[in-house]
Amino acid sequence: MKSPLRKTHPLISVLNNSLYDLPAPMNLSIWWNFGSLLGLCLVTQIVTGLFLAMHYNSNVDLAFYSVSHISRDVNYGWLMRTIHANGASLFFVCIYLHTGRSMYYGSYLAQETWNIGIILLFLTMATAFLGYVLPWGQMSFWGATVITNLLSAIPYIGKTLVYWLWGGFSVSNATLSRFFVLHFVLPFVILALVVIHLLFLHETGSNNPLGISSNVSLIPFHVFYTVKDVVGFIILLISLTLICLFSPNLLTDPENYIPANPLSTPVHIQPEWYFLFAYAILRSIPNKLGGVIALLMSILILMLIPSLHYNTMRSNSFYPMNQTLFWTFLGIFLVLTWIGKQPVEDPFIWIGQTFSTLYFMYFLMSPLSSKVWDFFLFSQKS
């Protein structure tokens, strides 16, 4: 009997093994939808970004004007812009839920996949930050000034590094040009890393809510998960539609509708909502270098999770105490997001410091509590 083309063709067979005949666990819950949703977000951002790049001008005298031109004069330019801007928010909703799912169900034990995922998270954050600078509004300019200045906290080379990054002695035309180039290139690096992320994932196979081996009951990816992913895609597109077409400025800072003015500092400088938790952690440390280290650690600490996993079972489904801790951690994340938006004054300072401490404590408390639970469950047998 002749094998079908999808199994014999050298190129199509690769796609077939990844998206069609791929053996997948049969009990994947809705939380496993966010991987494919992130793929859709990335493609949407790249496509809309390409259309925007055709009309954008990365010169400090023209950037704001060109964005206005896109919104007012280019056919459906306003739609491309609002999808791109709000799509970034949706991207982060999906990426945080995807990371949270991996933490909850112990998917991080596929260590290569997890580490590439964290690099992807870092790159996505960098890309989003670079993109936020491009419209050259007040918050773009001052956000870029504050964040790039963080590098000056590095001993000895900090200041030189900041000047090198700026391409001058302040955030200026050179900075905007290079930020545009990097913002254009990084998504393609992300795309390449996504392929590697999937490559490693398919080496081990997907985890599942029970965290046990799926080899006893596998189903083909197509049609079961393709049809489930399509439902997810439509729900994501509905969410994007609701924001973009009914409330496009819901997540936008009004300051960014004012052209950048280096002589006028906004009263409150704050990043987009998806960076607020990290911003709150940064501001909680009274020392600049300490704040920058805490900021980096807020993400880098995710890399430690696999090393701290000593549980007998993989998934939190069997650890009620860890489940409580996890949802408390989500609460801490939300409180930090809220704190990042508040002015630096009491009581927000001490609330931020307390919750920053709790944020990092989670990563210690979670393995400890699973160890305690394991002790209660298994100590009688041994």
Binding site: M26, F224, V230, V231, I234, T241, L242, F246, P248, I258
Partner: protein, 303 residues
Amino acid sequence: MATLVGRASKQALLRAHSSIIHQKANLSFKNLSKGKKWAVAAFGTLTAGGVGLAVALNTAVLASDLTLHPPKYPWDHAGLLSALDRASVRRGYQVYKQVCAACHSLEYMYYRNLVGEIMEEDEAKAEAAEIMVVDGPNDQGLMFERPGKLSDKFPKPYPNDEAARAANNGALPPDLTYIVNARHGGENYLFSILTGYCDPPAGVEVREGLHYNPYFPGGSIAMAQALYNEIIEYDDGTPATTSQLAKDVCTFLRWVAEPEHDTRKRMGIKAIMIFTVLLTSAYYMKRAKWAPLKTQKIAFKPR
């Protein structure tokens, strides 16, 4: 239809025997021990208290905060499915042209933007022709003045920012193209500013050349009250009260900031209709494909 019948019959065939004991989630607090009840109650109280505290802190009014926050007004276009009131936008343009344009620019607006939105093409051409534009160079290499065309931008009141500051006691009148989006509160803030001028309360001193307005951050604003009853006469005969003038110019400025406003909402309605059909179909298909797996029986028969 076949799937429906199939599913119905399968469900009947696969109905579990009543003797099988089902494991059900037990969400009742009745069976909890006293200690656990206290722990759950304490946790609940703590969470609710924390959320309450956060809400209270978020909405706190500080004594140092002297700025009055604008109330929310019932704008005709504020609804999810509401369009801009075009007659109001047109009247607002008249207010802008006769009052605001003396100091404020609309840097990103062209006369062509008026066509088909609030004016006929001929009207907009006549409107543009009222201004004189420096053009050139001509065949002799000289700049010359000509009447405006649809492709021309709205004129600026001052040649540059320095001239604007010099004419306004050091204050720079902001460009109004994106003013509705560039201020917290949008139209509500603008309406409140335009209609909120009053005498300063006892103990508040306003520097010379400034004016008291409780809605402006700090309370002192360089712009004097610009709108008064009957300051202009509307072409359509609408009584030009201060609040009517303010409402119309705010609606006009919403349109200026978002010319796509109505198209956007119309597109939203269409998209939701299409996505509803797609979601229903996709969800049905998903259920149909997964039904055999979800309803399968796995028997374990140890020998």
